[in-house]
Amino acid sequence: MFRALKTFRITPLLAIAGLLFVAFSCSPGGGSGPGASGSTISLQGAGATFPNPLYQKWLSEYGKLHPNVRIDYQSIGSGGGIKQIKEQTVDFGASDAPMKDEDLKSAAAELLHIPTVLGAVVLTYNLQGVDKPLRFSPDVIADIFLGTIKKWNDARIQADNPDVSLPTSDITVAHRSDGSGTSAVFTDYLSRVSAEWKEKVGAGTSPKWPVGLGGKGNEGVTGQVKQTPNTLGYVELAYAVQNKLPVALIKNRSGDFIEPSFDAVTAAAAESLPTTPDDLRVSITDGAGKGTYPISSYTYLLVYKEQKDEAKGKALVDFLWWGIHEGEKFAKDLNYSPLPADIVKRAEVKINSIHSGGKPLR
């Protein structure tokens, strides 16, 4: 009885002590602000999930070379990356699709797009008894995803695949349900090759799909394709390579059926060089050149041209420079396509234009 009473008296005191502890441990703010401590410089980045494995590799490799620079990257999605760099809560953002004009205008200052690597979108499918890679023409892909081509043995699919015996079954379409740069690149491509798609659906990270089932992430789409016979879906090239998925050959504008490969994607970027604008915001889908894979795209880092903090700005510029030079050699191992040499030169110009207080940082 005595013991019970005693604990009863002590408990509220403990609870109060706990509350006080929480209150005090929260109150002293500041201290850990960005770049506060003397010699170590800390940079924050956030954005696209697609290049995240590469960026993490870059950070760890760069950290070994420059122990006094600490860089963190959070893969929160391109949308989040654009939002955070606009609100200046991070030192650099990252996005798969280039920022829109109105987004750039509403930013506090001029933002630069620094391309880092290239990605591509591939078609994958589940068709029993078909062991040769399927071939698709652009208009056929658009009509399948519009729902006008419904059967696998449709004459237009058969025409591209004369020696494949296609089943009579319905095509089940699988697409991404989460907002994603992969969907944006794919629908950008479809909008370019099909006027009907452009008018009815358009391009975006979360378009309104006319037909099909939505899967969450590359793994969700792959799961649906693997588990459901007669399904056609699209995933990132890197993901398809890692998981050894069957991928389709796609006809480009020069009329060849191109197998998706890192070189074919880099070629698509190189071919588009003459039409690439000065700010490097460009879509390279449906490119013209021979041997180019048509559903390819850049992924970008977003940085302010005018850096407020000179020391941090210098560290950021050095990191970007290292990334598009030494960093590119990690790309292929991690299933990304490296930048073509001419784009690296254009990106160098962009990095050299970054300044702080009127002084260039390189």
């Binding site: 008296r9 509220p12 609870a15 109060i16 999930t49 929160i76 999605g77 391109s78 949308g79 989040g80 654009i82 939002k83 829109k100 987004d103 319905d170 089940t172 349900s177 989460d178 907002g179 994603s180 740069g181 629908t187 659906v201 358009g202 391009a203 975006g204 990270t205 979360s206 378009p207 309104k208 799909w209 099909g212 089932l213 939505g214 899967g215 969450k216 969700g220 799961g223 649906q224 588990q227 459901t228």
Partner: protein, 334 residues
Amino acid sequence: MTGNSEDPDDKLKFVGLWARLLNAFSPTGNPGDAMFRGLLFTAALLSLLIVVGMIVALAGQSMLSIRQFGFSFITGTDWNPVKGQFGALPFIYGTIVSSLIAILISVPLSLGIAIFLVEQAPTYLARPLGFLVELLAAIPSVVYGLWGIFVLAPFLRVHVEPPLQSWFGWLPFFQGPITGIGLLTGGVILAIMVTPIISAIVRDVLTAVPSSQREAALALGATKWETTRVVLVNGAPGIAGAVILGLGRALGETMAVTMVIGNRPQISLSLFAPSYTIASVIANEFTEATEDIYLSALVELGLILFFVTFVVNAIARLLVWNVTRKTGGVGRAA
């Protein structure tokens, strides 16, 4: 014992005020009691503040969308971020129907499990079985989702949906192409996730029904089934609470459902057709929502989910209250 508040001495005046305050919190005048009461009051107030804070934040963030679309946001069926069109009805429909399917399947199942564990099973079976059921409740929902897409969906596609269609195909609920992904699969996976929660609580509720009730029923010559009915009627309010908790989980579940429901904003009577829930669309599209109106529309969906949960819970409570009142006492049920 308390100081006189009329006392000219300041110190004593303060003590008097303190005593009055103490008195308000603890009629017994015990400072420990007052402190205890104060802490409890703070805790209760905190939960209220969190709810109010959430509603205020959601409403504030969704103002843009509320202003632009008004009531048509709730009645609209077109969700097209590319064109800036936002209508929430398909999501509301998908959320409610998938949760209803889950409850329809899981309530009889959970009741069966709980009744067996408490009333029928010998201890050497009840203990491990009860433990396993509780283990099911601890599995992360993303694991349920993966299991759903790799095991449950193909199973339903091959073994469940074709017979359903051939027997009940004349009903609109079982028409259309069979893919294994859709409203039915979403409802079934929710049912599997909700069952352990409901059955664990119902088991505790039934255990708490005094043995004298069972003994009295048995003494009157009741069979096992009739005795169980007595126990169930006694535990009815607790069982209702369990079902409402399960319903709450089903309405808000995100990852597992989004893996198997097909994520298509459409209203279709067919349970085989893909559908979409509010929680899923928020999780799916939040990270890439760049335009302000898009983000605002997603937050408004959150606000709607809040109210859907509130209304569904209220209806469930009313229903239960009605039923328990009608069945009345133990005597009539037995």
